[in-house]
């Protein structure tokens, strides 16, 4: 279980470029707002650079450099302004400007979900947005396999603590929890699931928003 920040092993897999796209997205969204973790990733990127420099030497031909030059000459000159233009964030590209107006599917009580797995073609995990209405409670559940979650809006609390916007949580089958949305906003999270959630209360099968 990892809470609030990704652990170093995950950041290392991120830095090495070995994570799946949905997992990389969770880390990137966190990094955009967390200078502490950004600095950890900078160190890991430097580790990658040092590993690369310490490998056996191979040769590259001079003719390759010539073809690189002809490639850059055939392109219009780089425009610093264009290169430095503010980027639309991955989240906006995927979900647009307003998370609240997405086509949410009301599940039970305070919980709404939206499956966005199809935005990640070719990836194995299920990717789900969950919305817990302000002040609302989600039913107790555990997680089959591993669930990586990042808070996109609002905050939730469970018996282990309060999770604010851009906090990062990894839960597995040992973590039974009963999240409650805190604050005056609906709490919206993005979760990457290696296997479906398992409800632990009564009416489990009927209520499980993730059983299709």
């Amino acid at each position: 279980m990892t809470r609030h920040h990704p652990d170093s092993l995950s950041l290392m897999e991120y830095s090495a470029g070995n994570l799946s796209e949905p997992h990389a997205l969770c880390i990137k969204l966190h990094l955009d707002k967390c200078s502490h973790c950004r600095s950890r990733v900078d160190t890991l990127d430097s580790l990658g650079a040092v590993m690369m420099e310490q490998q056996p030497k191979v040769t590259v031909s001079e003719s390759m450099f010539d073809s690189i030059l002809s490639k850059i000459d055939s392109e219009p000159a780089a425009e610093p302004a264009a290169a430095a233009a503010p980027r639309v964030s991955a989240l906006q590209k995927l979900l647009g400007e307003d998370l609240n107006s997405l086509p949410w599917k009301r599940q039970l009580g305070d919980v709404s979900v939206l499956d966005i797995t199809d935005r990640f073609p070719g990836q194995k995990e299920q990717v789900v947005l969950q919305k817990l209405a302000a002040g609302g409670k989600a039913p107790a559940h555990t997680h089959r396999g591993e669930e990586t979650t990042i808070v996109l809006q609002g905050a939730f609390a469970d018996q282990k603590g309060v999770f604010n916007q851009w906090d990062f949580v990894v839960l597995n089958d040992e973590d039974e929890h009963k999240p409650v949305a805190v604050g005056c906003e609906d709490c919206i999270t993005l979760s990457v699931l290696s296997a479906p959630v398992k409800l632990t209360g009564t009416f489990t099968r009927m209520l499980n928003p993730f059983i299709r």
Partner: protein, 199 residues
Amino acid sequence: MTTLDQKPASSEGRKDPWSQMLQKVGKHQDREAYHALFEHFGPQIKYYAMANGLASHAEELVQEVFVSIWRRSCLYDWRKAAASTWIFTIARNQRIDMLRKMQRTSAEMPVETEDLWQIPGENENEPVTSLHRLMSERRIRESLSHLPEEQITVIAKVYMENKSHQMVADELDIPLGTVKSRVRLALNKLKVILQDQNV
């Protein structure tokens, strides 16, 4: 605190010839500096491609990386990242991009590689240049030389062969927990684990 950590950031950054050259490429489109970077980093990137299963595309990757270096060099700032770190992340992203394009029909990429994997120093919100960051590479080289071989092997497989911790465990025929503890011990030495909570 070691004496290394007390040196001013500026002298460290200016001493690195590759960062100076990359800066020249970015500011003046200096082709001599660009060629020197190619001679130094080209072979490294080619080996990187070969090690992670892109042998038949190794030269293509080197070309893509260098075209990308040329295009983005105007954004490079030696105060924010050493050239080798910056170039490593470009090589990593181009590799990911190449694999994504191979595995996919062209239409289906709503999110670009660079939306998911950041290049250091290009975050516009970055308030200050941390001393710690500029010290990184030198400190890492120094720390690596003291790590046991078994820890370096695991890290090399993760970074160069792009294997997950699970794949490394399978290949070396050791438990996943052993791989993770080797990585943690190494990262501890490299001071990446400063405020991990549950390790």
